[in-house]
Structure formats: C-alpha cells, structure tokens
Amino acid sequence: MKDPFSILGVDENADDNEIKRRYLALVRDFPPDREPERFQTYRAAFEALQTERQRLAAKLLAQHNSALARLETASLPPPEARRQRRVSQAQLTALLVEGVEQAMARWEEASRTDGA
C-alpha cells in the first residue's frame, strides 16, 4: 500500500482537522456506493492516521512520497499559462501495454488460484 499521507494528499505534518477535512472531501467526490474500492483505500488511509501515535508510526516506520508529489504540483505551470492539452501515441502505447500486462497478470493469478 502507498503511504497514507500520499493517498489522502496531505502533508506529513497535517493535524487531525486537516486530515479529516481532506478525507471527507474525498468521500464526497468518491462515495462508497459509486467507488467502493477507492473508498476502502481512503478509509484505510484515514484510519491509519487517526491518532497521534498512528501518524508518528506512519512517519517513522515507512517512507512517504507526499513531499515529492507536492514538488511535482509546484512545478506545474499556473492554469492560465497552460497550453493546449496533448496526448502522444507513445503515452497511449505505454498505458495500453500496462493495461494488457495487468489484465494478463490477473488472469494468471486467477488460473493459479483455480488450479490450486
């Protein structure tokens, strides 16, 4: 699992209120009836950061990438300066091959489970 700070998109020094606010916003955008798996992910991340001890444990016992993600966002140009949106064939190929590989891996896993 990715680190809970990155999943919720909060700073690793975020307090109770900020984490709760962010979690509720995500649940509003992705309600459990429409996106059950995603909701489970957010719920697990929220529960992993609910107390001071849990937040400290998440910081101490694992790496987290939220600072890197923030740097990427800071590198984005401001919305008014964004140019025409592009999609390249290379990107499409990479994503479609990723999808085929993942679907194939799921099929293999299911075949193994059925065989067992």
């Binding site: 990715k2 990155s6 999943i7 919720l8 998109g9 909060v10 690793e12 962010r22 916003a25 995500l26 955008d29 429409r34 996106e35 798996e37 001071e52 001890r53 400290l56 444990a57 101490l60 016992l61 694992a62 790496q63 990438n65 939220s66 600072a67 890197l68 993600a69 923030r70 740097l71 990427e72 966002t73 800071a74 590198s75 984005l76 140009p77 964004r82 140019r83 025409q84 949106r85 592009r86 999609v87 390249s88 064939q89 990107q91 499409l92 190929t93 990479a94 994503l95 479609l96 091959v97 990723e98 999808g99 085929v100 590989e101 993942q102 679907a103 194939m104 799921r106 099929w107 293999e108």
Partner: protein
C-alpha cells in the same frame, strides 16, 4: 561389444512399464521426465493418447518455466507442443509469455488469429478480445476484413478501425468537433467501447462529466490504466491533484502531467523532475539536492529525507546540503534500509539504537516514537525468527512489548497483548501484576477490567474480582460477559463451600451472585444452585421451586435435569448421594428417546470447562448420557455436530455406541471421511497403537485430504487421537506410561544432549537470571530455553524443570550433581 539392432522392437512389458512411468511422471509434475518418456513411446508407436500426453507435458513444462520468469524458454517449449499437431494448446498462456517478453507485435499477430472464432471458451474468448483490442491500439497494424471472415470478426475489425481513427485524430491535436463524429462510429458494446468513453472524457471541459464518463470503464480492464491516467489529469484543487498523481503509476503520471502542463516545454522543471524519477532514487536524490533554490526548500528537504532509506550512502550529502541529522534519524534510516534488504539482524540493531536515542530525548514525541519502534520490533519478531530480542531467555515479543510500555505506558493494545502473552505463557506473577496495574491506569476500559477480573479470579481473589466487575458495570452496565463471569465465579465459590460442608456460606455466596443477574435475563445455573443448596441445607422452603425454575430456564426436560444433575455432582462432597429429586427426575427424563437438540445440548454441557476439570465427579453422568444415546444412534447429526458428542462417548468409554453412530453416519454421508475416522477410533478403543496398517493408511489419507485442512475441529481430533493426548481415562494412562518410559529409558540420552547446553551457560549468567527473576523465574526461563533445544521439545516438562532447577542450585553453590534423581520421584 555387440551392436544393437535398431529395428528391434521393445517387448510389450517394457512398453507397458515405460507408459506407466511416463503417466506417473506427468501426474507428479515431473514434466521433463514425462516429455522424454513420451518421446520414446511415440518413437515406438504413434498413439494419439501419447501424443496428447506429450503435449500436456510440454504445456506443464512451459508453465513451470514461466513461473520461474523464463518466458522465452516457455514460449519455445510451447512451440514444441504446437509442432505435434499444429494446434496452440493454451492461446492465453502463449499470449502471456509473449507479452511478458515485450513482444507486443508477435502477441497481437497471435491474438488476432482467434478474433471471431469459437476456438476458446466464452470467458476466455471475451478476455482475449479485450486484450487484443488494447494490443491493437497500442501497436496498430493494417487490418481489413476478408471475404470469408465470420461476421463477428468483420464487426471487430470495423470497430478497431473506428477506434484507431479516433485515437489518431486525438494524437494529431484535432478539435473536438472533428473527433466526435469518429467516436460515434465505435459501437459502445464492442471491446473498443472504453476508447469512446475515455476520449470523450478527454474532450470535455466539465470535470464532473469527465468523471462520469470514466466511471463507465472498469478499472481492472485492459483500458484501466488509461482510464486512471485520464482521471489523474482532471483539473482540481492542488491537494487533490497531488493525491491523484501520487497514486498513479509512472506511465499514468507522465500522461497526466503532460495533459496538465501541456508537455515538457510547458514545464521544463516538471519534465526534468520526471526524468530524474525514472532514473531511480539515486538520480532523483542528486537532482533534488540541487533544486533547493528553485523549488520550495522545505519540500525538497523532506523529499530528499524520505529518499534516504533507499540511498543511505547519501546521508553525508544530505547533511552537507540541508542540515545535520539526529543520531535517531540516522539509525531509523539504516533500519529501514536493512529491512528493505531483509537484513533482519541489522534492522533490529538499528531500530534498537533509534529507539534508545528517541527515548533519551525526553520529549513526549520522543517517548512515543520509542514506544512505536519497540512495538514494531515486537511485531517483526513474530514474523522473523532472526529478530532475537535482548536476551536469549526471554521471548522477544514479550521483551519488546515490555520496553514499549516503559516508554509509552498508555498504549492500551500493547498492554492487552502483553497481559495475554503472560497469561498464555503461564507467567502468573507478571500477568497478575500487569493486570492490576492496567486496571489502575485504565479504570474505564472494559477490556482491561475484564482482564483484571480474570486475573483476580485465577488467584481466587473473588472479592477483588467482584470489585473490578463493579467498576466494569459502572462504565458498561450491559456488559453481559462480565455479569456472566461474576455469576460463574461466585457459583464455583459456593460449590467450594458446599464441599466444605458450609451450606450457609454457600447460600450467602449465591445471594451475592444474584446481584449480578439482570431481571430480564435470569440465570439458569444460579437458580439451580440456589435450589440445590437450599435442598441440601434444608433451610429454604422455596428451594424446590427455585430448582424447578432453573431447570425450566435451562430448557426443561432431560436437558434441564441433566444440567441440574451436573451442577449437583460438581458441588457434592465425595461419596455423597445426589439430591433425590434430581436423581428421580433425571431417571424419568432419560426414559424417552433423545432428540437431536437433546443430544447436542447435553454433549455441550459435558464439554464445559468446569465439568472436564472434575472428571471423577461427573463420570457417572457422562456414562448415563452415553447409555441414553444407545436408543438414538440413527439420529441425523452432521459430523461437525457429532464432534462434542464423540468426545463425551470416548470419555465414557462406550465404544460400541461410538461405532454405531459412525456406521450410521457413514451410511448417510459416504463421502465424509471423518465418520470412518470415528469408526477406527471405536474399533481401536481410542488407542492408536491398535490400528491395522490399512487403518493407518486411511488415517494418513484423511489427514492429506484438502477438506480436512478446512475443518480445524476434525483435524484437531485426529491429532489428539494420534498423539494419545485426549482427556479420556485410557489416553491419560498411556500418556503417563509414555512419560515414565521416557524418564527411565531416554534420560541418559537427554543427559548427554542437555549437558552441552548446561556447560554453555555460565553460573554467573544463571545467578544474574536469579537476581532478575527470582529463583522460580530463573528455573522457568531456563526450562523454556531447554524446551527449544531439538530434543527438549520431546522431553516432559517436569524433567526440563528438574534440569533447570539443578542448574540454578549449582550456580548458587548448593548443588547436588544434576540428573541423579527422577522427576517422578525416587532415585534412579
């Protein structure tokens, strides 16, 4: 040397042997051997079944190679199978091997052969069609429908070309107005339907509409990553965008950032950052450490700090660029790096160093951090045997939990876990001390108060237990288990008073117990015991009424009177007759044929802890129950329901009754092998030494069957039967005989092996143990350690304690030579 005649035909017998060997090799998964043998057989005679078996051998071998990551080799072996008759045996598996090698064009060419055919099952056909759609769009090739093509293939090719045209228009930066008509040509229900939804979502300016469109693409389809990438590229507040980007894969993130930033030229810094990320943690660290001036400095520092466990050799560079790290932080980084390499010994050392530094810090956060690390070490030591703990005599889980509580005594789950461990390990002194301390520290936590009740009850400190129970019910008034436990405790105390011929005290005890009873849930055992004490003491005019009320609450009839008889037996002093009313009513009730409910409920009563703990008092009732069962051996019981009934029958040693149940069960459920197990138990009178060889084979087959692994009750009973560790009288007798035989026969061998251990521990170590844990604690610690030796596990615990006791005595200078007396009394 005589030349062999190549034309000489093998004898029929050798062919038969070869075929049998080949079949066995195929069955056992020795595919290489099976392939060689079938090749030899086919040289002799081209039988179709041998050709099919050879093909199966090739497929099996290919799968074994693929499981080892040898995809190229797996493809070659599959090719051998195709060469036999020209048919691909497992098209999806071949496709998987090609994709894993990155041979997308070859995979597409292979997959396209199956489009529009019925060569695969419907499920596999659908999957292959979806995969082919994604493969085709990833690496398009010219496709045209031929004249003789089936309609399904023609439709598929038309949809493919429409989707291709739409994607070409998208990558050529054409306008939405130009792309929309192309999308309309893609049938929504075709395997290319997701392309229509994804491209539409990329064209719309409304994020909510885009999200709705993307919801129509299953995330686990071959188009899932494209959907997630499109979703990550949706505009939103910065934190939301960050969250989405951090969850995305590298390809998804590159796509999303390109869409959000308008390409590398739109954000050169972002392009460089992504390039650095692709280069790995070292490259990224180097890149970031030079960007403190151009990017937010705090985030650059944090991002670099978080990369350090992956590149611990950059600690010096980090300190030079940003700031000095604390010793605790450095130890934490080294510990995480060691964990990533699964170097558990180093991880443990570094975590301990980090915890010690955090604890020395003295701040609240430092103490909490140390507690967290010690708990982490306790968790790790459960999974990793290389986490050794602080000393060899203490379970590392226990020692790390103890240390965690020294730093963070308010962590409730650790307290409860440690109490549980002390209790399970029989470490009574620590268990009671911690339970009492926890009850003071967490006076309103019901889980802690429940543990305190159990601890006080185990010490027979009933008043203390009642005090904890009162506190518990003050915070949790409807805590049913606490009320039930208190009633049980006071009933067992009242039983003790009755056995000491003090019905007056027993009556007072039961009156106190009734305070725990809720008006809406009267307690059957309490009423029965009040009635019995009243009848035996002759003081209570309402005693019979109370007894009958209790019996009714217990279900009435045979079950109710059986319960009353058991309660009576448990409180009866030795050699005293049961209460006449109970005896008469029970005899009357047992005249009828028991129902299924009667059987199961009464067996459950006989399995209760208090009943099993006093087998002498309750043996006669168990025997009566089993005699009663004689009239009901054809009752339809499932084997799960029968387990506890069987236990009661075995304890009563009425093996003919057990046999009749087993035979009837086997007739009803011929495929349920546990009935056969019970039949064997009955024939051997629960003595595994009396099994025939064929019966041993049957038991082995039952143990190896997959169904038994899903039935812990059944497998536990088989284990107990084979170990002879049941609680019936003959199993206990056999266990005593085994221990005695080990004591006299194997003691010399044990001496030799244990002597090695004894000499490896210096008297000073033992003295230190005595100082830390007291004499008894040191003996227990040494005996635990002895039990972990290869032969120690099979040695009886009294013997280990004796050896440990002798070691302690020697270290304290008061010893007689060890092992000279038998632990079972008497000199050897």
């Amino acid at each position: 040397m005589a030349k062999q005649n190549p034309r000489k035909l093998p004898s029929e017998a050798s062919t038969y042997v070869l075929a049998a060997r080949a079949e066995e090799a195929l069955r056992l998964g020795s595919f290489k051997e099976a392939i060689e043998l079938y090749k030899q057989l086919l040289k002799q005679e081209a039988r179709p079944e041998w050709r099919d078996a050879l093909a199966a051998g090739y497929v099996g071998r290919a799968k074994a190679l693929s499981a080892k990551g040898l995809f190229k080799e797996a493809e070659v072996v599959l090719g051998n199978a195709v060469a036999l008759d020209g048919a691909v045996k497992e098209p999806l598996f071949l496709l998987s091997c090609l994709i894993r090698q990155g041979q997308i064009q070859k995979a597409l060419a292979q997959a396209l052969k199956y489009i529009g055919t019925n060569a695969l099952t419907p499920g596999h056909g659908r999957l292959l069609s979806d995969l082919t759609a994604a493969l085709y769009l990833a690496r398009p090739v010219p496709l045209a429908a031929g004249d003789g093509h089936p309609p399904a293939r023609v439709e598929w090719i038309a949809a493919a070309n429409a989707a291709r045209a739409a994607l070409d228009a998208l990558t050529a930066q054409k306008s939405a107005d130009e792309i929309e008509p192309l999308l309309a040509n893609i049938p929504a229900r075709s395997p290319f339907g997701p392309v229509r939804l994804i491209v539409k979502s990329l064209l719309t300016e409304d994020p909510a509409k885009a999200r709705r469109l993307l919801d129509g693409v299953p995330p686990d389809s071959a188009f899932g990553p494209l959907r997630l990438a499109a979703e990550a590229a949706l505009p939103g507040e910065p934190a939301e965008v960050v969250g989405r980007l951090s969850r995305a894969s590298a390809a998804q993130r590159a796509f999303a950032l390109d869409r959000l930033a308008g390409g590398a030229s739109g954000s050169p810094m972002l392009a460089r950052l992504l390039d650095a990320e692709r280069g790995g943690p070292g490259t990224l660290f180097t890149f970031l450490s030079k960007q403190a001036a151009s990017l937010p400095a705090a985030d650059v520092r944090n991002a670099c700090f978080n990369l350090l466990p992956e590149v611990p050799d950059r600690i010096a560079l980090f300190e030079k660029t940003f700031a000095k790290l604390t010793e605790a932080d450095k130890a934490r980084i080294f510990a995480l790096a060691a964990e990533a390499k699964q170097d558990w010994a180093r991880a443990e050392t570094q975590w301990r160093a980090a915890a010690a530094r955090f604890a020395d810090d003295g701040s609240r956060e430092g103490k909490l951090s140390a507690g967290i690390i010690y708990r982490h070490l306790a968790t790790l030591s459960v999974k990793e045997p290389k986490i050794a703990g602080e000393d060899i005599f203490t379970d590392p889980v226990v020692s790390y939990l103890r240390k965690s509580l020294d730093c963070d005594p308010d962590h409730l789950p650790a307290v409860l876990q440690l109490i549980k461990l002390y209790r399970e390990d029989g470490d009574e002194k620590d268990w009671h001390a911690l339970a009492d301390e926890a009850a003071q520290r967490f006076p309103t936590e019901s889980a802690v108060l429940m543990q305190a009740i159990e601890s006080a009850a185990a010490r027979k400190a009933y008043k203390k237990a009642a005090g904890f129970a009162k506190k518990l019910l003050a915070v949790d008034p409807i805590n049913r288990p606490a009320r039930q436990r208190m009633i049980e405790l006071q009933i067992s105390h009242a039983r003790k008073q009755m056995r000491s011929k003090r019905p007056d005290l027993a009556s007072m005890e039961l009156a106190a117990a009734s305070e725990w009873e809720r008006a809406d849930t009267p307690n059957a055992d309490l009423r029965i015991n009040q009635g019995l004490v009243g009848l035996r003491g002759g003081m209570d005019l309402q005693a019979e009424g109370r007894l009958r009320e209790g019996v009714e609450l217990a279900g009435g009839g045979a079950v109710g009177w059986f319960r009353a008889a058991l309660q009576d037996a448990l409180m009866t002093p030795p050699r005293q007759r049961p209460v006449a009313l109970v005896g008469d009513e029970l005899s009357r009730a047992l005249r009828g044929v028991p129902s299924k409910l009667d059987i199961v409920t009464t067996a459950a009563l006989l399995s209760a802890e208090a009943v099993r703990a006093d087998p002498k008092a309750t043996y006669e009732l168990g025997w009566k129950f089993c005699t009663w069962l004689r009239s009901a051996t054809h009752t339809v019981l499932s084997v799960a329901e029968f387990h506890s009934v069987a236990d009661a029958i075995v304890r009563a040693q009425l093996f003919d009754v057990l046999r009749e149940f087993a035979v009837a069960g086997k007739r009803r459920e011929p495929n349920e092998r546990l009935w056969r197990f019970y039949e064997i138990v009955a024939r051997t009178t629960n003595n595994p030494d009396r099994m025939y060889v064929a019966e041993e084979d049957e038991i082995r087959a039952i143990c190896n069957s997959p169904t038994i692994h899903k039935d812990p009750h059944g497998s536990g009973r088989i284990d107990r039967y084979l170990d002879g560790s049941g609680d019936d009288p003959s199993s206990k007798r056999r266990a005593r005989r085994r221990e005695a035989s080990l004591a006299t026969g194997d003691l010399e061998l044990l001496e030799t092996i244990l002597a090695g251990f004894v000499s490896s521990i210096s008297p000073r170590d033992v003295q230190r143990l005595v100082k830390s844990y007291g004499r008894d604690g040191a003996v227990t610690a040494l005996a635990d350690r002895l039990a972990q030796l290869p032969l120690g596990a099979s040695a009886p615990s009294p013997l280990l304690k004796m050896v440990a006791g002798a070691m302690v005595a020697t270290a304290l200078g008061e010893a007689s030579p060890p092992f000279r007396t038998s632990p079972y009394g008497g000199a050897r």
